[in-house]
Symmetry: C2
DNA sequence: CTTGCTCATTAGAATCATTCTTATTTGATA
DNA sequence: TATCAAATAAGAATGATTCTAATGAGCAAG
């Protein structure tokens, strides 16, 4: 039974209301889209998928929902390279591997303690509250 | 005598010509600007500094020069958060610390072996040719 | 040298992602 | 059910970057 810190569609409502926010259909839809297919879509891709389910949703709302979910820490915004921001449901601490051939991004689970180990390289006076690790390369498939 | 892999204004010419490119005044100026003040400026900031020295230089040329220098691996493009790309002269392997209060970015030297250690978390079949580490937090100053 | 050719630069237009603005809608609360 | 704040929608506006087309510069062959 693996313990994850990933929000689920079920726990989303309480996360939102717990932050004084409303659990709207749009927010739930956007989260579900990220939750169902973990392929780090851009806002625009989320928008396309959302429209299939809710044709009246607007791109601005998708941006708003994503921003809200990031604030609530149930979704993570990821930026490597210039280019649109990509989003993933937060789950356990993980690094990202960016396959330069396919352009796709894979999550890499982090062994416990690695982030703390990495933080030890910081000089005195530097207090990190997050560490992001990005690999670039290719995968044999 | 510290051994670095940092290009210098002197070595730039041969790096460029070695790649079949010309060492133009614009390219040299852009590189010198990055080399002199290592504060991770944006293309627009480089442009402003460049104009002080060479009033006729254009923003497009600054973008072109930066891209060329990145291709030659004498300059590194850095992207965290959405927002403009920032540039630093390549020097030794280092991580970036992004101070969330001031918005400034500091280089963190990496102890030898750290990158290799971090790479060991990759599953079989993943071949990383680069690892980027980004800290976010605050500094006591 | 000087003609020709390729690489670079310039200026401005175009594009893309994102944010902003304003009006409308929704939903919880009194 | 009336009220009021929060959320959504649509499109305009912004900002960073890239593209396009024209001009300029430097080297190589004659």
């Amino acid at each position: 039974m693996s313990e994850t810190s990933t929000a689920t569609p079920e726990s989303l409502t309480q996360t939102l209301t717990g932050s004084g926010l409303r659990a709207t259909p749009q927010r739930e839809l956007v989260f579900n889209i990220l939750f169902e297919k973990r392929d780090h879509p851009t806002a625009d891709e989320v928008f396309t998928r959302a429209k299939a389910e809710m044709p009246t949703i607007s791109l601005a709302t998708v941006y708003n929902c994503l921003e809200t979910l990031v604030q609530c820490r149930v979704v993570r915004a990821v930026n490597f390279e210039r280019g649109p921001t990509r989003y993933c449901p937060n789950q356990r601490p993980h690094a990202h591997f960016h396959d330069e051939q396919t352009g796709s991004t894979h999550d890499i689970d982090l062994p416990p303690g690695l982030l703390d180990h990495v933080k030890t390289i910081l000089p005195t006076g530097y207090e990190a509250n997050s560490v992001e690790i990005i690999f670039r390369g290719k995968t044999q498939s």
